[in-house]
Amino acid sequence: MALELKSSDNKIFEVEELVAVQSETIKSLVEDGCADNVIPLPNVDSKTLELVLDWCKNHVDMKLDEEKLKEYEDKFIEVDQAVLYDLLLAANYLNIKDLLNRACQKVADMLKGKTPEQIRETLNIVNDFSPEEEEEIRKENLWAFEE
């Protein structure tokens, strides 16, 4: 059975139900009988939706091959921060647990082993603390900043 999904920029994607229901959000719509017409997804643009559907399809296809799936996931998540941002929002909105987890893991990996200064650089964060404020916060949680 095929479902029709419409992205925010009005592009229609036809997908098999088995693939689409990897999204808990779409799954509930199907179960409630609201999936007969085109399902509008105003929060996901076509570029991101295409990526998401590729993820879902491969998770159905490679379900039994853990190694192959992991290889796919590692390759899939090698994207720049802009795409990562879109994927995280989409995975959250569509409630696709494994995609959300993998994307979160990717961001977490970008933070691991880095000093706050290095993290700010990686994520382009502007330090909006005054030096006194920052000193105060560090003092409050000293144990976390010790080695």
């Binding site: 979160c104 961001v107 933070l111 964060i125 502007v126």
Partner: protein
């Protein structure tokens, strides 16, 4: 799919997008970090300041470096314990999330802090913790070890905030030096439908245990060194790994069709451990046996049926020099498709010179890997090693760790210098027995 290898600076790239994600996505992301790493994000910017208290990942309160220092008498236990407890309490007070993936405490226990620990356990359970580990292993094993007691009504009463309704998220429970009764474990099993892993070590209150349930998800059950443990009865359709180490009187495994990995043994002769499980031996893929050989107790192997599915055999042996490990060969030969053999040798008695013993070798076409931890390079293990090298014609590698297994990972690992040097020398001499294509690694 486009991948930017060298991103050209665009407006979007220079923007701090990740910080613009909603709270729950950022908090979810923080749970993939350690608590320390998560707390450190508070200083990134105002946006990140108040996110970490909602941390719901893994709370791991462990201080291995301090514990080694205490064991080495470089630091004082009492003082460090107080510091540790203060730190845990302070963090728990600040946490505001409603879930928790893991709560792990690893520090030596003291009866004065029982109420505090009760509070910590309550905290973890009230957050619907999935993996709970309490490890109160003492630094000095010879001192009268004190254990924390898991009180019953805390978990059996429906009315309390940490009663039955909250423990249902538990998937893994690990208890070391925690006194817990069989009755409480059974209660936990019947109220934690998601429990997959249960590990209990050194509980003096554990006497009888019945693991029973057709919908039991339990995959991993290991019970070690519970000195008053008398009987266990198992009906567990999903059990894959079972460990029972230390004395026990009655083992009844009624139904464990998925059993793949077994770890048994203890001070008593091997047949006491193996016989109750004889109908499961042929389905095992991995077997670990604890064997004690001494002057009082000679090595006596029960007749074992063919271990048709066994891929990995590990023998953890406590022995003296008088013995030879050649007596273990029938165990290796009982597994015709064995791919990996590991020997962990704890050898304690003074050196005795005796002749090497030879044994009839049957070519072993499947054994690919041999691992010997605690190699001493004396007749006791050289006998067996030569046998393995000469019979395993398809051997790919043999890995030898010439240091005492009990000291591995501790600050004293490299202490026994003379003994270790002798072992390394003897290990190097084994090169001449290596089959073609095999590699000898001395770690």
């Amino acid at each position: 799919m486009e991948k930017s290898v060298l991103p050209l600076p665009s407006d979007k790239d220079l923007k701090d997008l990740i910080s613009q994600l909603p709270d729950d996505i950022l908090v979810h992301m923080l749970s993939f970090l350690t608590l320390k790493e998560a707390v450190r994000t508070c200083v990134l910017s105002h946006r990140w300041k108040y996110l970490w208290p909602f941390f719901r990942g893994s709370l791991n309160f462990d201080d291995p470096d301090t514990m080694w220092d205490i064991a080495d008498e470089k630091k004082k236990m009492k003082f460090e314990r107080k510091k540790f407890i203060k730190r845990v309490n302070r963090i728990l007070k600040l946490l505001r999330g409603s879930n928790l993936d893991e709560f792990r405490v690893c520090f030596e226990f003291d009866n004065n802090f029982k109420d505090l620990i009760d509070g910590w356990v309550d905290f973890a359970i009230s957050k619907g913790v999935k993996r709970l580990e309490l490890d109160f292993s003492p630094t000095e094993a010879c001192e009268g070890a004190k254990s924390y007691t898991f009180t019953h009504d805390r978990f059996t009463s429906v009315e309390t905030s940490v009663g039955v309704s909250c423990i249902k998220y538990l998937t893994s429970l690990t208890l070391l030096y925690v006194n817990v009764t069989g009755k409480l474990l059974e209660h936990i099993l019947s109220n934690c439908p998601l429990l997959e892993r249960l590990y209990v070590s050194q509980s003096t209150d554990l006497v009888n245990l019945k693991i029973w349930g057709s919908s039991l998800r339990l995959k991993y059950l290991h019970i070690t060194q519970c000195i008053y443990f008398k009987s266990i009865e198992i009906y567990a359709p999903n059990l894959e790994s079972f460990g029972l180490v230390g004395g026990i009187k009655e083992t009844q495994v009624n139904y464990a069709p998925r059993l793949l990995d077994l770890h048994v043994g203890g001070p008593k002769p091997l047949q006491y451990a193996i016989c109750p499980l004889s109908s499961y031996l042929s389905q095992l893929q991995s077997l670990v046996l604890n064997i004690w050989i001494s002057r009082m107790q000679k090595l006596e192997l029960p007749t074992i049926q063919t271990l048709t599915n066994l891929r990995h055999l590990t023998l953890r042996v406590l022995a003296s020099d008088r013995e030879s490990l050649i007596g273990l060969i029938p165990l290796i030969e009982a597994a015709p498709f064995l791919q990996k053999f590991t020997l962990v040798l704890s050898w304690g008695e003074p050196m005795i010179d005796r002749e090497l013993r030879k044994v009839m070798k049957r070519p072993n076409k499947h054994l690919k890997e041999v691992e010997i931890i605690g190699f001493v390079g004396r007749p006791i293990d050289i006998d067996l090693t030569i046998y393995l090298l000469e019979s395993a014609i398809k051997l790919e590698k043999i890995v030898i760790t010439p240091r005492c297994p009990a000291l591995l990972g501790t600050p004293w690992e490299f202490n026994q210098i003379e003994k270790n040097e002798h072992a390394i020398k003897a290990a190097k001499q084994l090169k001449k027995y290596l089959p073609r294509g095999a590699e000898l690694l001395i770690l």
